[in-house]
Amino acid sequence: MDVLVAQLLNSLLYAAVLFLIAGGLSMIYGVMRIVNLAHGTLYALGAYVMAWGLLRLAGESGTEPAYLIAFLPVAAVAVAATGAVVEPLLLRPLYARAEEYQLLLTFGLLLMLEDVMRYIWGPTPLTASSLWAAFGTLHLLGATYPAYNVVVIVLGLLAALMLWALIFKTRFGVMLRATSQNRRVAAALGINVSSVYVQAFALGCLMAGLAGAVVVPIQGAVLGMGVDALVLAFVVVVIGGLGSLEGALVGALIVGVVRTLAIQYFPELELAVLYLIAAGVLITRPAGLLGRA
């Protein structure tokens, strides 16, 4: 029973992080029809900013959990700011061109960002596991579980709720949905589409940065984490449906559970199974489980 609870929580933890990454990727696609290959790298950027901030500013004595919570928004906003620079500078010239070009451009961006991070923070991983330990453990239904992991799960849930509220309950959300449905009609109705695009892209990046920041105490910041995360985020959005937020949530949960099961029972096939599921969904339901064709 306690093993089951721990595994369930592990699945949720994994799903929460994946939802943050894939939700941003999916929203950017939904609004702007851009598949951002550098999205995973932006997630890694969030992790590096977070790890750097914790190590540099909080120092060795920074085992206070309060530092960590205070730094999460800083890292996320730093990534969002990067996105707000990238969109008008590099992506805007491409909207009128064939969509393959965005893949090429964002791949170039990925290569550049990977090395920028290596240049700034060096090739060795940055860790902050003492913070993770400082949170202590919780006893849940007979299982002992790290308290910080529960914080991440709750954060993921909160993020999903806030995103839902933003998109379906606010004026900005109406503009976002209008732009995503028909860019030209939205522009004709007086919506500043360029500004919506920048904000949508920055919001997607904010989520990726937040995801990167929250995983730092658990797994640290490592080079290459972004490239691997991107493909997993693709798996999630492909399962759930590209451009659908509910889909990203469902996809993240499915991937979280399948991965935990796979690690438990057939560790060699852990990654292959995920990619095969994505391929299987694309074959049977090209628009994803919750996507609109």
Binding site: G108, L269, A272
Partner: protein, 350 residues
């Protein structure tokens, strides 16, 4: 989008144009071919020696191998209009097939390597193609990427078969069943014997691809790329054509992977990862994907670029990334397209 430097794209489908087979070989192609064939003999010529040094010839061998890979890739991107982000599966898969026939069947001839690589990439291409050809644009790209990552994950995780991240070693092979003497010195082998072997295979590949693109099949692919609906109306079975293009493309890239394995001496999971697929895309776009020769030039140029940038700076990816971004934003036609544009505008001025 207007296609400026690809007159063949504008040729309407019809008995007349479809019957027009491969035209005469341009003069500069003959010159380049002659230079490539006499290159090893120029080693001791003063002033030219550095160009023909063993190091440069090995670099060129890598370049030719990448050229074959990009040539195959471009049958999909340039001629069929499908952007695959999974061609590492064919390149790396064939290299791994080579490593595995060495490990388990103790194969030692290059022909058996090539056979293993071609058969494996054929099987993978048929399996992937059956799934992928129903999709176009971004879905095609993502699907090829996800499928190729399956192979990467398997190569990484089944370490007792594939040696995980250490990779598989590939020893010096025999050529043409031992007809060609193998030099003792590995550098001599790679820069002379193997150089010529790759060069001959490369020429055969280019010739075959040239015939394919000029054939009615190649014209049908271009028709599908330019207007899928019209191509359907005139009776082309679009998924079928796409499927064949996918398989041919995969086999060419697979052949390149099998040639790469003994050249590199080692296959690691990097060449199965989707970022390597991205590099094949990079090569093709660098050279210019709207032309036949662009990807070949791109493969060779990319290899030099990577080699020299790595030499000068540890942060070579920044430069490569910046070049790719600049290419997409400023010269999407690649090197060949830009050169063609310069030549055209000079001619017009005269």
């Amino acid at each position: 989008m207007t296609v400026k430097h690809a007159p063949e794209a504008a040729i309407a489908l019809g008995a007349v144009s479809a019957g027009r087979r491969a035209g005469p070989v341009p003069w500069y192609v003959s010159v380049l071919a002659v230079v490539a064939f006499v290159l090893p003999l120029l080693e001791n010529v003063p002033g030219l020696g550095w160009l023909a040094s063993p190091f440069q010839r090995i670099q060129l061998t890598y370049g030719l191998v990448f050229g074959i890979a990009a040539l195959g890739f471009n049958l999909l991107l340039g001629y069929t209009g499908l952007l695959s982000f999974g061609h590492a599966a064919f390149f790396g898969g064939a290299a791994y097939a080579t490593g595995l026939v060495v490990k388990y069947l103790h194969a030692s001839s290059i022909e058996s390597f090539l056979l293993a690589g071609v058969v494996f990439s054929l099987l993978v291409a048929v399996a992937f193609g059956a799934v992928c050809v129903r999709y176009t644009k971004i879905f095609f790209s993502i699907l090829t990427m996800a499928l190729s990552q399956v192979l990467w994950a398997l190569a990484l995780k089944f370490f007792w078969i594939t040696n995980g991240t250490d990779g598989l070693r590939i020893p010096t092979p025999t050529l043409l069943g031992g007809l060609i003497p193998i030099p003792e010195d590995k550098v001599r082998f790679l820069s002379f014997t193997y150089y010529y072997y790759v060069l001959v295979v490369f020429c055969i590949c280019v010739a075959v691809m040239w015939v394919i693109t000029a054939s009615p099949f190649g014209k049908a692919l271009q028709a599908i790329r330019d207007n899928e609906v019209r191509a359907q109306f005139i009776g082309l079975d679009v998924p079928r054509y796409r499927g064949f293009a996918f398989v041919v493309s995969g086999v060419f890239t697979g052949l390149a992977g099998a040639l790469f394995a003994p050249l590199n001496g080692l296959t690691t999971p990097d060449i199965l990862h989707w970022t390597f697929s991205g590099k094949i895309v990079f090569m093709t776009v660098l050279g210019g994907f709207k032309t036949f020769s662009g990807p070949i030039l791109g493969g060779v140029a990319y290899n030099y670029l990577e080699t020299y940038v790595i030499k000068t700076t540890e942060y070579w990816q920044i430069l490569l990334g910046a070049i790719l971004v600049a290419l997409v934003l400023l010269m999407p036609q690649g090197i060949i397209g830009t050169v063609g544009w310069l030549v055209d505008s000079r001619r017009r001025r005269r």
